[in-house]
Amino acid sequence: MTEKLAILHPEIALFITTCVVMIVGLSRSVGARRASAWITAAGTLTALGLALRSPEGFGLLPGMLAYAKAMIAGVGFLLLLVMAGAVDRGYEARLLRGETFDPIRATRGEFYAFFLFSLMGVMLCAGADDLIWLFLALELVSLPTYIMVAISSSRLRAQEAAVKYFFLGAMGAATFLYGFALLYGAAGTTSLSGIATTFAASGIGPLAYAGLILSILGVCFKIAAVPMHFYTADVYEGAATPVSAYLAFAPKTAGFLALMLIVSTVGWHDGGLPEPVRVTLWVIAALTMTVGNVLATLQTSVKRILAYSSVAHSGYMLVGLIAGPGDGGVFQNGLAAILFYLLCYGVMNVGAFAALTCIERGQNPDDPNDLETLDDLKGLCATRPLVGWAMVLSVLSLLGMPVLLGFFAKLLLFSSGIAAGEIVLVVVLGLNSAIAAFYYLRIISSAMFETPDARRDGGRLTPMRGRVLACVVSGAAVLVLPLLFGPLQRASSRAVSTGQSAAIGERPGGTQAASPEAGR
């Protein structure tokens, strides 16, 4: 029992932190309430440490736990830096001016608790080997985020966004729940490995296909893929920017982990995925990339641009899912590419969103009026060099500029797609990367080359220095992590190595370096 619990150590750490934070957040003492952010940070870091020591799990992708959970906790920590202090700023300020504390009105502790719950859900997805577990984990990711959106800002449009997000999320959940039910009906078990065994033994019937496709489509809501993408821009724009950053990472990660597990049940055999599943994913991938990118080109709000680009990035990653683990070679492994991409996307995404939160122009602490439109960004590199350049680096990386992190991430997707023979899809991917350059470069040119409007309030640096730190750390990571490309990529490959391809983690051509004769 205790051994089985070992795979849940990070989640347990998060859970304990959640309980503490909920209580501490209601304390009358300002110091205690402020401490809740630090406690959350400590809990996240503890989870990160425990995640690195995760043992092999069980199920279809047992090696994934350490990498996935460490990534979730690591990026989660960066996101926490952005989010810390975002909620209840106005209320806390009024308390300092002498208003009496009313626990009913304080939401700060809850906010951190919801964040931790959601993060816990993402981690649980990585370890799932049962449809019910997977469903609960996915909902544990999403339910807190609905509330986080609502309480993130006092603006009305945050409430509107939360309502939309909730109802459409419910529809998405219903879709994959229906899919799960059909899968259970077809395979007679809720265990993912059990389903895989059944499929391998007795083939995949129409009922099973219907279940698979509905599950995939439902989970597409989490990753903001077409046709479940409609909410994305409205919700990201409505929520406070730190929460938008969170939405772009956590549900997407959970969704991709879930998709990898669901699709693993049918497996990538000699000819790749079974045709219906492949077609589903292919159409979704191509549409998602294209729709995300073309809609992004029309936006003037940076948050909406990043929202649609988040849609597009999901489309890119789906290419890895179609490619699958390949024959185990590092550059053929699409699943490893997804895991690596999620990490990279998490980092550069935090950089871009955090930069937006670093400058405030409003006087109302509940509505800081941070950077939103391309016009707001004008001259950022000149007025706030640190934030501006971190943003430029992150966006260049999102664009996939060589040498930066995003390039290596995309490279792996391309190579896995080519190895799997999905040439057409890879061409679509390439075309979309080119379209993406259009709107990313608009962000960069605003920040680097244009001069700010004289009439416009230049704003001031946010008092919450965690945001600046997160922004700078992400910007630097985009530059520095490529140096660790080899080890990180090997870690992601090892994470998805299964029994059939145990050699995935091996060094490519290692024998050649070890003995030159082998090269002849």
Partner: protein, 751 residues
């Protein structure tokens, strides 16, 4: 990396370093050797932090000196551990971390592996010892030299400086050609940044651009060389590469002798080396590079970076020897000799002492290339080694003069500096440097130059075409070198004491009229500036010092560094007498590296081979050259004494001027650098300019039109999709439902 691996065992689980060490012949080196490049990188980053914190003290200088010193000690430790103070036996690879590992198959040539690893052998260590050692000393010197910039560019200067050392160590120590390329471009970048250090000065910016662009031409060669190497051998890692080259086969086992690769790979590398090491026709950037601060000129553009080309050829020497016709090496030898001669003739006619030193650098690099070309890697490496010390000394002396006399570098405006109060150390150091450069008997420069000269006559013309002709050119150049070197010494450092200060902040010579009013006792200085107006590159301005300029003698840091370097220049000669059978310590180091294949070994293998030596007028070149070059050097010095010292009463005039009439326009042409820059401008720059205008029109009309058309497509598509994003909950829900149905239909239709 290993430290991280212990912290994150499950996550990264880097294999132990040993697992990556290639082959049986190449062992694994100490992993901490990676500190040698990383310490300067850290220093650079810390200087960046200093810049961000707007540090207004000399802290960055001390950080850099300390880190570079530590890097030097690490180099020495690697060397001592590996077999020092003698040469190291064989090579080893110190694995830093995995960097690039692409594989697209299991066959040969289907993986690109370039790790951040260091190739440690004697050649590497020879280079790194003087690179890190000199860098430490010059950083110390710069801490005083750059003191006028404290709080402004000081942080930036030292950040670049340390970054340069990092890049140089990547270049020299990398265990694969990609790391060499990284370092190669890195030193190019740092060179660009440092030449353009005074970025408000148009001439500095122009010089920086020129250096960068001219180097790109060479880099094209290098890149082609790396590509062809990879295509031919299927690897760019030295260890397997040299093993294949040693066996004379390519990656798939075919013999290489007589193949096109055996001819062309060396030529590609050679072009790269010509760019970086300022050889004909790509030497034009180096004299202009003197716009950078003098410590930079000393370190980068005299002692270390410009020898990267020599290093490249020495490192790749086995590949150069694959070609039985020695095409590349013959070109190298001839280019080296012609460059040496051309640069020396230009150097003879210049008036700016730093520029003279720059041309002498080009000229001496020519010697090194000639040495490589006539199969004496030992001679080339030995000359690199001695040259590094004495040329650094010379540049730093010039820098001290420039620093003390407010940027004055014109040899017609300074005289007798060595006898002024506080300038003794500079004078002595300059004398030591000049003697070395002139090849005065028993100096280090004398021995190293001799070795190259002798070998040009030893190497038979059947192996390297016209080797003895190369020797004659180099002998002539040796005389010219002695002359122009001592021209500087006799004009500036001895003779009657007088001076005229330069522009205060100018770091290149600005020649202006200053009018009378200098302290009495300094003689007359109504110097004729008419001639100078021709080379004046900036408009005049009021002289900031007015009437009471006092040269400030160098302080402790500059004097200490000069003293150390002067002593080192002298002591470098002693290394010739250690390991005598290998032609000195440097020879021993070279013999135990990949550069040992050719040259002396091939020809000194046995007595029979010895007998087939070429000869110098019927004498054994090795013995004869000791006397011949000594005599030539002293004749050059004597001529300089005759023309520039004897009977000279002022700074501006010298007995040499009487000869000017007899020589006609030749000195003026030489001073104008034989109009090479103008030639390049006319032949290359102008046509390119015209062509680019044509392309500009094409670009505007056709390409932009197509691009705009292509750009409209996604926007139009987006505009079509836009109505779907109307913000209404129920329409979104309908869209989702419709999408689900659509996909189910597609799947149903397809399967």
């Amino acid at each position: 990396m290993d430290a991280i691996a212990t912290i994150l065992p499950t996550f990264l689980a880097a294999e132990p370093a040993g697992a990556h060490a290639p082959g049986a012949q190449v062992g694994s080196g100490p992993p901490w050797a990676i500190l040698i490049p990383l310490l300067p990188l850290l220093a650079s980053a810390l200087c960046g932090v200093c810049a961000m914190l707007r540090v207004k003290s000399k802290a960055p200088a001390f950080i850099v000196v300390a880190m570079l010193g530590a890097s030097f000690l690490a180099t020495a430790a690697v060397w001592l551990q590996g077999g020092g103070p003698g040469p190291m036996a064989g090579a080893s690879v110190a694995h830093g971390w995995d960097w690039i590992q692409f594989a697209w198959g299991d066959g040969p040539g289907q993986a690109l592996i370039a790790n951040f690893s260091l190739y440690l052998d004697s050649l590497t260590l020879l280079w790194m010892l003087f690179v890190t050692g000199l860098a430490t000393l010059i950083a110390l010197y710069a801490s005083e030299y750059m003191s006028h910039d404290v709080g402004q560019g000081y942080n930036r200067f030292f950040a670049y400086f340390a970054l340069f050392v990092f890049a140089m160590s990547c270049l020299v120590m990398g265990d694969n050609l990609l790391m060499l390329f990284l370092g190669w471009e890195g030193v190019g970048l740092c060179s660009y940044l440092l030449i353009g250090y005074f970025y408000k000065k148009p001439s500095a910016v122009a010089a920086a651009k020129k250096a960068f662009i001219v180097n790109r031409i060479g880099d094209l060669g290098l890149v082609l060389g790396v590509f062809t190497t990879f295509v031919t051998f299927g690897t760019i890692e030295y260890a397997p590469l040299f093993e294949m080259v040693g066996a004379g086969v390519d990656g798939s086992g075919h013999a290489l002798h007589g193949s096109w690769q055996a001819t062309w790979i060396p030529i590609f590398f050679m072009i790269g080396a010509f760019g970086k090491s300022a050889q004909l026709p790509l030497y034009v950037w180096l004299p202009d590079a003197m716009e950078g601060p003098t410590p930079v000129s000393a370190l980068i553009h005299a002692a270390t970076m410009v020898t990267a080309g020599v290093y490249l050829i020495a490192r790749m020497y086995p590949i150069f020897l694959l070609d039985d016709a020695h095409t590349a090496l013959t070109i190298v030898a001839w280019t080296g000799a012609l460059t040496a001669l051309l640069a020396a003739t230009i150097g003879m006619a210049q008036f700016d002492i730093k520029r003279i030193m720059a041309y002498s650098t080009v000229s001496q690099l020519g010697y090194m290339f000639a040495g490589l070309g006539v199969l004496t890697t030992t001679g080339a490496a030995f000359h690199v080694f001695t040259h590094a010390f004495f040329k650094a000394t010379l540049f730093l002396c010039c820098g001290a003069v420039m620093h003390g006399f407010a940027g004055q570098l014109d040899l017609r405006k300074l005289s007798g500096v060595a006898f002024m109060k506080g300038w003794g150390v500079v004078g002595v150091a300059m004398l030591v440097g000049c003697l070395n450069l002139a090849g005065f008997p028993f100096t280090a420069g004398y021995f190293s130059k001799d070795m190259i000269l002798a070998e040009t006559f030893v190497t038979p013309g059947s192996v390297i075409g016209g080797a003895s002709m190369v020797g004659w050119i180099l002998l002539l150049t040796a005389g010219l070198t002695a002359y122009y070197t001592f021209r500087v010494f006799f004009r500036v450092f001895v003779g009657p004491q007088m001076y005229e200060p330069g522009e205060e902040h100018g770091h290149a010579p600005h020649r202006h009229d200053h009018g009378p009013g200098h302290p009495p006792g300094h003689g007359e200085h109504d110097l004729a500036d008419a001639r100078d107006q021709a080379q004046k590159d900036e408009p005049g301005g009021a002289h900031p010092h007015g009437h009471d300029f006092h040269p400030h003698a160098p302080g402790l840091a500059i004097n200490a560094v000069l003293a150390i370097l002067a002593v080192a220049s002298v002591l470098a000669a002693l290394t010739y007498f250690i390991h005598k059978p290998d032609h000195g310590w440097v020879g021993a180091m070279v013999h135990h590296s990949t550069a040992h294949f050719g040259g002396l070994d091939a020809h000194h293998g046995d007595e029979a081979a010895h007998a087939s030596h070429g000869s110098f007028l019927g004498l054994d070149p090795h013995k004869a050259m000791y006397y011949v070059s000594a005599v030539i050097g002293m004749v050059g010095i004597f001529v300089a004494w005759l023309l520039h010292y004897r009977g000279r009463t002022g700074a501006a005039v010298a007995p040499a001027d009487r000869l000017l009439g007899a020589l006609g326009p030749i000195p003026r042409w030489a001073q104008q650098k034989w109009f090479v820059d103008e030639l390049y401008d006319f032949v290359i720059v102008k046509p390119l300019w015209a062509l680019s205008n044509v392309f500009h029109v094409i670009d505007k009309l056709i390409v932009d039109g197509l691009v705009n058309l292509a750009g409209l497509t996604p926007r139009g598509l987006g505009a079509g999709l836009r109505p779907s994003q109307n913000g209404l909950l129920h329409s979104y829900a309908a869209g989702m439902a419709g999408g689900i149905v659509f996909i189910l239909l597609v799947v149903w239709a397809v399967s």
